[in-house]
C-alpha cells in the first residue's frame, strides 16, 4: 500500500536557485529507498519537504493513509552536548510528555538496540563519531516512527564504522517493519542497503531513474552485488553532464 506520494513537487531557495522541479514518486510501506545523487542535487531538500520542515512551492506531498510518526537522522549526530546519551535519546519522549521513568526505560532499550547500553551516561564529547551516530539513530527510533528519514548519516564516518552501522540499520529496518528513505551520494551504500534506488540529477533536482533491486541480504564484493552497483552507476549521470 502507498504510504507517501509526491506529485510534481517544486522548491526554490530564497536566493532564486531552483532546488527541485517536477519531483514525483510513490513510496510503499516497508520499502527501503535510497535517494542517490551528487552533492547539491536537492536530496536533502526533498527529505526536509517530506518531513514537513520546509513547505513546497508547488506540487503535492500526499499521505494516503495519514502522516505517520517520523524519525529523522541528520548528517551530523546533532546531539545536545550538555547532557548524556540517555537524556539525548529521551528527548522525543520528553516532548510527548511521557513520564520520566517510562521515558528512561524506553530510552535505555533504544540505546541497547544500537549496542550502547554501557554508554547511557556518557556525554557526546566522550563518544566516537560512530557512537554519536548510534545515539542519534536510537533517538530517532525511540518514539516508534513508521517512517525513518536519514540525511547522509554515515558520510563522515570511517569505513569500518560505516559498514557496521549499515548492518545495524538493515537489522532495525527489518525488526521494526520500518519504511526508510535514505539520502546518500554513495553508489555502494545504496546498493548494499536499498530495496529501491531513486537516482536524482541536479539543478533542478528531479528523478532520473527508479531502480527496483532484488531483496537482500547482500554480500559485499560478490558478483551479484557488483552487478547491482554497475546497474546503479550506469543510471547516474556522469560528473560532466551533471555540472
Amino acid at each position: 500500500m502507498s504510504l507517501l506520494s509526491l506529485a510534481t513537487v517544486a522548491k526554490h531557495f530564497a536566493n532564486g536557485v531552483e532546488a527541485l522541479r517536477d519531483l514525483s514518486f510513490d513510496l510503499a510501506a516497508g520499502e527501503f529507498v535510497s535517494l542517490l545523487g551528487p552533492s547539491g542535487c536537492g536530496k536533502s531538500t526533498a527529505l526536509r519537504l517530506i518531513a514537513g520542515l520546509l513547505p513546497p512551492d508547488g506540487g503535492m506531498i500526499g499521505w494516503p493513509h495519514g502522516k505517520p510518526p517520523i524519525g529523522f537522522v541528520f548528517q551530523d549526530a546533532t546531539l545536545m552536548p550538555w547532557t548524556d546519551a540517555l537524556t539525548n535519546v529521551r528527548l522525543p519522549l520528553d516532548l510527548q510528555h511521557v513520564p520520566r521513568k517510562a521515558g528512561n526505560e524506553r530510552a535505555a532499550v533504544a540505546l541497547a538496540r544500537v549496542g550502547l547500553s554501557d554508554f547511557a551516561h556518557a556525554y557526546p564529547r566522550e563518544l566516537s563519531g560512530g557512537m554519536k551516530m548510534r545515539v542519534s539513530i536510537a533517538r530517532a527510533l525511540v518514539a516508534r516512527p513508521r517512517l525513518l528519514l536519514l540525511d547522509e548519516p554515515f558520510a563522515a564516518l570511517d569505513e569500518p564504522s560505516r559498514a557496521a552501522l549499515n548492518d545495524d540499520l538493515l537489522r532495525l529496518w527489518r525488526e521494526d517493519d520500518l519504511t526508510v528513505i535514505f539520502v546518500t551520494h554513495s553508489v555502494s551504500e545504496s546498493a548494499y542497503l536499498s530495496s529501491r534506488v531513486l537516482v536524482m540529477t541536479p539543478r533542478p533536482g528531479r528523478i532520473a531513474a527508479d531502480i527496483a533491486l532484488p531483496s537482500g541480504p547482500r554480500t559485499r564484493l560478490s558478483a551479484e552485488f557488483l552487478e547491482i552497483e554497475r546497474r546503479i552507476a550506469a543510471a547516474l549521470p556522469s560528473a560532466d553532464s551533471a555540472a
Binding site: L53, F72, T78, M80, T83, P92, L95, R125, A143
Partner: protein, 259 residues
C-alpha cells in the same frame, strides 16, 4: 607543577615589587602623605580594619544587587530580542546608547531623580547600567547560535517555541551568558565605585567614599588600604565567577575541558 608555577610566579613578583617599594620609600625618605610604604599601609589597614570592613560590606551589597539586577534584566531582554526581531529593532539602539553614554555623566541625574534618601537604590541602578551590556550582547549571540538541525528536530516532534527556548536555545547560550557575567561582575564593582564617587560624602559609605575621605584628610596609607581591598574584591569576584563557569561547563563545553 605548571599549576604551582602559575600561582608561585606572580606571587614572587608581588613580593619582590613590595620589597623594592618598601626599600625605595625608606631609602629616599619619601613623605608618607605622598607614597606610604607597604608596612604603613598594613598598619593603616590594621588600625581601621572594622570600619574598612563595614565599608566593604556596603560596597559589596550594592555590587551584588547591581550584578544580579543587570544579569536578570539582560537575560530577559536577550530572550525578547532572540524571539522577536521587531523587539530587537525597536530596543537595541537604545541599549547601545545606554552602553556608550559614560555612566559618570548620567549618574548625577539618576541620584537626583531617585533621591539622596534612597542612595543604595540609586547606586545599584548606576552600577547595573554599567554591568548590563556585556551580558545582553553575549547572551543574544548565544541564543541565536543554537544548532539549526536540533531546532528542526524539536519542530519535527511538535515542540513549542517555549520548549525550543528552554531545551535548546538557553543551554546553547549558557557559555555565552557566563562569559558575559564574568565581565559584568567586574563592571558592577567599577559601577558601584563610580556611583559612590558621584554620591559623595554624607550619602555614600562604601570603599570608594573611604578613598575620597582619606584623601581629603591626607591619610594616604588608609587610602591605599581601601584601594588594595577594592582590588582584592575585584579579583575574588572574577575568580568566583570563573569557578562557577568551570563548574557548570566542565562536563561538556570545549572551553572548560582539560586536555
Amino acid at each position: 607543577m605548571k599549576k604551582l608555577l602559575d600561582i608561585a610566579l606572580p606571587l614572587i613578583g608581588l613580593i619582590l615589587a613590595l620589597a623594592f617599594w618598601q626599600w625605595k620609600v625608606r631609602h629616599d625618605g619619601v613623605p608618607v602623605y605622598v607614597l606610604p610604604a607597604p608596612s604603613d599601609i598594613a598598619a593603616a589597614f590594621a588600625a581601621n580594619v572594622s570600619s574598612l570592613m563595614a565599608s566593604l560590606a556596603t560596597t559589596l551589597t550594592v555590587t551584588a544587587l547591581a550584578f544580579a539586577a543587570a544579569t536578570l534584566a539582560a537575560l530577559f531582554l536577550a530572550i525578547l530580542f532572540s524571539e522577536s526581531r521587531l523587539a530587537e529593532r525597536i530596543f537595541h539602539p537604545y541599549a547601545v546608547v545606554l552602553q556608550v553614554t559614560p555612566v559618570v555623566a548620567i549618574a548625577p541625574l539618576i541620584l537626583l531623580w531617585i533621591g539622596y534618601d534612597r542612595v543604595t537604590l540609586a547606586e545599584t541602578l548606576i552600577a547595573a547600567l554599567v554591568a548590563f551590556f556585556p551580558v545582553l550582547s553575549n547572551t543574544t549571540l548565544g541564543l541565536r547560535s543554537a544548532d539549526f538541525n536540533l531546532v528542526d528536530l524539536m519542530r519535527l516532534y511538535g515542540a513549542s517555541r517555549a520548549q525550543i527556548l528552554w531545551r535548546v536555545r538557553l543551554p546553547t547560550a549558557l557559555p555565552h551568558l557566563l562569559s558575559g557575567m564574568k565581565t559584568a561582575g567586574g563592571l558592577a564593582l567599577i559601577g558601584t565605585v563610580v556611583a559612590e564617587f558621584v554620591a559623595g560624602s554624607g550619602a555614600a559609605t562604601g570603599l570608594a567614599w573611604r578613598i575620597i575621605e582619606s584623601g581629603n584628610r591626607l591619610e594616604i596609607a588608609t587610602m591605599f588600604a581601601a584601594l588594595a581591598l577594592l582590588a582584592v574584591t575585584g579579583v575574588i569576584i572574577f575568580a568566583a565567577l570563573s569557578l562557577l563557569e568551570y563548574w557548570l561547563l566542565r562536563r561538556w563545553h570545549e572551553s572548560a575541558i582539560r586536555r
